[in-house]
């Protein structure tokens, strides 16, 4: 598992460095981003998960089993910093009316007490509407600073959307973790 992630993380960095060399004439970030598109937006960001799972604390782990989808303790929301789209006219996995899913995301690995598995959750910001302001959550299981960007949540993940306005955040299962 760690190998896969290592490779993808490496691919991400190599792509950025390639872009950097190509953009030596200062062609601007937007172009750099579109060059990165196929690797970066196309998935390399999703599986960054370079953490020792043994660090997990039970307290922070699984949320509350009886939490609703409009509460921060709901199991999928284990590394979600933002407003729950389920409180804003969307749902756990759907953006509210008028908002577009972010093109890039950070991920969490959250434990589902119901089936005992760990899932990789993509936290897509929903973009292009003013901030929702309801059900603000700030959970940080395996969250890391921006030098581990794919698991960093103190940044606007609508950054690659136009417009890049942040509205709320959905939590989408993209896979079960290898150790699940």
């Amino acid at each position: 598992m760690d190998d896969v992630i290592g490779k993808l993380l490496g691919a991400f960095d190599r792509a950025a460095e390639r872009a950097a060399r190509k953009s030596a004439q200062m062609i601007g970030r937007r172009s750099a981003l579109s060059m990165l598109g196929s690797t970066l937006v196309g998935g390399a960001l999703v599986p960054l998960l370079p953490f020792d799972r043994s660090l997990r604390a039970n307290a922070a782990e699984g949320g509350r089993a009886d939490a609703t989808e409009e509460e921060c303790d709901y199991w999928r929301y284990c590394a979600l910093d933002g407003f729950l789209c389920s409180c804003c006219g969307g749902s756990v996995t759907a953006c509210p009316p008028g908002a577009e899913p972010s093109k890039v995301t950070w991920v969490g690995t959250c434990h589902n007490a119901k089936d005992g598995k760990d899932y990789i959750v993509s936290y897509n910001d929903c973009c292009g509407k003013t901030t929702c302001g309801r059900c603000q959550c700030n959970t940080n299981l395996r969250e890391r600073p921006g030098y581990r960007m794919g698991v960093h949540n103190d940044i606007n993940w609508c950054m690659a959307n136009t417009p890049s306005m942040y509205h709320c955040t959905v939590s989408v299962i993209v896979g079960v973790s290898g150790k699940g």
Binding site: G43, G98, K103, T105, V172, G178, G180
Partner: protein, 375 residues
């Protein structure tokens, strides 16, 4: 994004135990259907640049929101599947050039599908219903201006042509219920001015009514309700006046005193009453210890008042409300803003006793002032 995420999920799933696990998901978008909406306009006083109009269903589930910027207004146009939200934008949020437009929101996607430029003179005011209205046929929008000299912009939606009529000393827009070329305004002398748009659709002549109310001692709130063929106004002290705005000159048809026999009680709030045309019952936000200056006080009770029979039918406890409205499709459903608790609340009317009881609520809104129910 989702495609590759799913590819990835496949990759990961191959390494994981297979049974019973949750499947990878797609991110959805939401489009609203054709349900009856409760619109709540919130100017968000502590952050006025970021006003919004919340969209709820009649069970008070929040379904979405529309950006209303700095001191925006709102008016639903359900027959067009649109909501008009005029507002002001500045080049640099709070500074730089000001641009005023009517944002046209699609009522299903809640996105801005069109923008109609208007004069940078519209009243940047609290969201009162009668500062932004449409003609009876929906083809014309009326926008109250204040610089602070007052005028009304008359905007033809299809052609985007507009002209301005002055309404000095007057404020508020009350379109005729039957004549799309006519609208009225309340004036500080206690009269009503009625405008009739000319055939060229580039101006409007104004006729002034007799003195209908005492703006000094017992002013009318600018909020008004429709009956089938007339408007109802309520005064600070509780007089409900029925006024016809259908002719060239406004006429007082009738009046009744909600607070008769209840000294110390008066209506209050920003949208202080709702009216059910079928039963002829008005629901009025009333507070006790009424005095000069208490006319925006939140309610202690909702009074159910038979306007035609001039009879108080019921007094129901309902604290903290400053705006109330009624469902056009279900006159047993009232919706109100409770700014004291930052809530939107639903009340049920008992069809026999006309007593009112709270049935639902949602924590929502910071400075909400206008609540409207519309298909």
């Amino acid at each position: 994004m989702m495609r590759s995420a799913i590819m990835l999920a496949g990759l990961l799933a191959a390494q994981a135990c297979a049974a019973q696990e949750l499947a990878p998901e797609k991110i959805g978008k939401t489009v609203l259907g054709d349900f009856e909406r409760v619109y709540v306009a919130d100017v968000v006083l502590p952050h006025m640049v970021d006003g919004r109009v919340y969209v709820l269903d009649v069970d008070l589930n929040l379904k979405g929101m529309m950006e209303s910027g700095f001191a925006g207004m709102m008016l639903a146009a359900p027959q067009r599947g649109q909501v008009y939200v005029p507002t002001s934008f500045y080049e640099r949020l709070t500074r730089g050039a000001r641009t005023d437009v009517v944002q046209v929101f699609d009522a299903h996607t809640l996105t801005v599908t069109d923008e109609i430029p208007i004069a940078a003179a519209r009243a940047q005011a609290l969201t009162y219903r009668n500062l932004f209205q449409a003609s009876s046929d929906g083809t014309t929008l009326f926008i109250q201006d204040a610089t602070p000299a007052t005028s009304i912009d008359v905007l033809d939606v299809a052609s985007r042509r507009r002209f301005e009529v002055q309404n000095p000393g007057c404020y508020g827009i009350y379109p005729s219920l039957t004549n799309p070329l006519r609208f009225s305004t309340l004036c500080g002398g206690g009269t009503v001015g009625s405008y009739t748009i000319n055939e060229a659709h580039d101006g409007a002549a104004r006729k002034t009514s007799a003195k209908l109310f005492d703006a000094t001692n017992d002013p009318w709130f600018t909020h008004a309700e429709h009956d089938v063929d007339s408007y109802l106004f309520v005064s600070y002290k509780g007089t409900i006046a029925r006024v016809s705005l259908e002719d060239e000159t406004a006429k007082l048809l009738d009046s009744a005193d909600v607070a008769a026999g209840a000294p110390g009680w008066a209506p209050g709030g920003f949208q202080p009453f709702a009216y059910d045309p079928k039963s002829g019952v008005a629901y009025v936000l009333m507070h006790g210890d009424a005095a000069e200056g208490s006319h925006k006080n939140p309610s202690a009770e909702i009074w159910s008042y038979d306007v035609k029979g001039k009879k108080l039918l019921a007094r129901s406890p309902a604290a903290g409300l400053t705006s109330i409205t009624i469902s056009p499709s279900d006159p047993s459903a009232l919706f109100a803003i409770n700014p004291v608790e930052s809530k939107i609340q639903r009340f049920a009317v008992d069809p026999q006793t006309r007593r009112v009881a709270k049935t639902k609520e949602i924590k929502l809104g910071e400075s909400a002032a206008l609540i409207e129910v519309s298909k």
